[in-house]
Symmetry: C2
Subunit: 139 residues, 2 copies
DNA sequence: CAGGATCCCGCTAGATACTG
DNA sequence: CAGTATCTAGCGGGATCCTG
């Protein structure tokens, strides 16, 4: 369908999309992926040490993302699937088996999401220290 | 593949925090920074091409982040300041001048946030295409 | 100019119950 | 197992008005 190369599309996209603009579609996309569950799901999927495929079953995902409700997990997964970031594969065993995996697109975002998650964990102490200092100073 | 990535080394160094756990402080921190306004504010602050200091005034920020309400902008800035990601400097001119700038901590996060924002803009077309294909297939 | 304070609506997350 | 359906409470977030 597109008679344009990927590079050309990217070049066009650079001028067409700007998340600083309220009406821009990329603003909505940014809003979608700026979600803790998105970050955690993407971080959980994909290959960890030792694993070959990063595919996970629904129950396994809900176990890893401690505290997520079924609703939010399903909802987030559906939206990620719709946006082409994850694939949903149903194996008609009984009971049914559903596995989720990252697409190439999802994989490209996963790296950043793991970076964010890693940042939060790595700088937690700094942030905690800043908060205490800030709170006592303004107390 | 390198024997150990930077993320893996960080994870090893800080085993105490794990955002996958519901009660972990880093989960709350992840939730905080997983916010579209945080992403946009951090992306807006910091040096652009040509600029020396990335400091911005309140009004300039609200102009760049089209569609943000005063409440959310102030609220987000306060929380970022409390967490030590931005500094708030009041110059007692009349009328008063308030400028916001990134701390070193904020700067380290900014790079990732710009990455996320850039990703959203760069892959908008892919996502849009996936959505259409998905919607027509499930129609 | 850079907010603080207040009111209030919407929607979304969470809990619960049910199903193929 | 992997969801769907429904209901509700809570709060995120916008609109508005006010101030140093």
């Amino acid at each position: 369908m597109p008679s344009m190369s990927a590079a050309e599309r990217r070049a066009q996209a650079k001028v067409e999309y700007d998340a600083f603009l309220a009406g821009c579609p990329s603003r909505q996309l940014l809003d979608r992926i700026s979600d803790k569950w998105v970050a955690l799901i993407l971080a959980a999927l994909g290959t960890d040490e030792g694993e070959v495929s990063g595919a996970l079953r629904y129950s396994e995902l809900s176990r890893r993302l401690a505290g997520v409700s079924q609703k939010m997990l399903t909802q987030t997964l559906r939206s990620l699937e719709r946006d082409g970031l994850v694939t949903r594969e149903v194996t008609p065993t009984v009971p049914v088996t559903v596995t989720y995996a990252l697409t190439d697109l999802g994989l490209s975002l996963q790296e950043m999401m793991r970076g964010i998650k890693g940042w939060a964990e790595a700088h937690m102490d700094d942030v905690l220290a800043h908060r205490q200092e800030h709170d006592t100073r303004t107390a």
